[in-house]
Symmetry: C2
Subunit: 196 residues, 2 copies
């Protein structure tokens, strides 16, 4: 217990040699690494849903097999401004998710990078709002296309354009899956942010 012998021992501890039994701080880092890996996987799923929704809606197009001399009956996503907004918003959300993947990987490597996690959480909230807005607006229009509204004399167009409506409904469902994944992403980030 003399001072001169203790000096090298304490300096080796300060350099961070791992002890055989994990300390609580290391267990916490491992737990945070697990959260970061789940975050990465959820992001991959959300990319699939968002880009799938954008692509599916963007290629929805139906030409009816009968026509008159002057008319061809065609329904496409760009007939409805809400569906155009849907395609644009979902493409932006998908692009944001792809760009956020490297940051998610950094969060796996450095589980204690708090500023990064905070930035991802706030950007995720913005992306959630954008995705949710476009998904809900498109859902309202799809509902109208399926059921019409007798009070306002808006007729259901799905009786004529069944395939178009199917594709649009599928895209809306995919976008809501992306929204739910975003909610889990935000909850996970908040869990990883808390201080103990």
């Amino acid at each position: 217990m003399s001072g001169t012998i203790e000096v090298p021992e304490s300096s080796s501890v300060a350099k961070g040699k791992a002890p055989l039994i994990a300390t609580p701080a290391q267990e916490k880092a491992g737990w945070k690494k697990g959260v970061a890996i789940i975050d990465f996987l959820l992001r991959l799923g959300a990319i699939g849903s968002a880009l799938g929704a954008a692509a599916s809606m963007g290629t929805s197009d139906e030409i009816l097999p009968f026509f008159t001399q002057f008319f061809q009956f065609e329904a496409s996503y760009d007939d409805l401004p809400t569906f155009q907004f849907f395609v644009i918003a979902m493409a932006i959300v998908g692009g944001y998710l792809v760009l956020s993947l490297p940051f998610s990987i950094v969060a796996i490597v450095r589980p204690n990078a708090v500023g990064l996690r905070l930035l991802l959480l706030i950007l995720d909230v913005v992306a959630l709002t954008l995705a949710n807005s476009s998904a809900s607006a498109a859902a309202a229009i799809v509902y109208l296309a399926h059921n019409g509204n007798s009070n306002t004399n808006w007729l259901a167009i799905c009786q004529q354009f069944g395939d178009f409506c199917q594709t649009a409904s599928g895209a809306v469902v995919a976008s809501f899956i992306a929204v739910v994944l975003f909610m889990f992403l935000i909850a996970l980030s908040a869990l990883a942010l808390r201080r103990h």
Copy 2:
């Protein structure tokens, strides 16, 4: 400096008498208290917007000043299922916000209650999604009511029911204010959650 004299001094420190110069830990607690007070004020604003939107949409009703023998021309929010959903969702969000006020006050009194802040953040994300869904769906329908859509033969009804459309548009704007306030609430909670 004798032991018997020091005992009351140290116990008075333990009871929390404030020293003249704030330590870093106390400054942090003060900063978190400030965040909690802003949180409370934002919640009050969001209550106003959400309940205002629900009340405004719920009382929107217009009877045209002419009628036939069998018909009276009337537009009300319950002619459109999307507007009914809007009123219900906004009332739920307003109710959640009122119920969350006591928890927000507890967060002011105890700025370091991490579990409480995490709970509020996750519930806020759910409420944000609900508010945003109903607001966006109603916005899509209000847009349709204003502009109609020639491709699907949905006519603009706002030319007949101008006052009804005005009220509905105002309610949608109020609900989007609530959505923006929710985004700030979540960002603030995340800031207060981070560990340093």
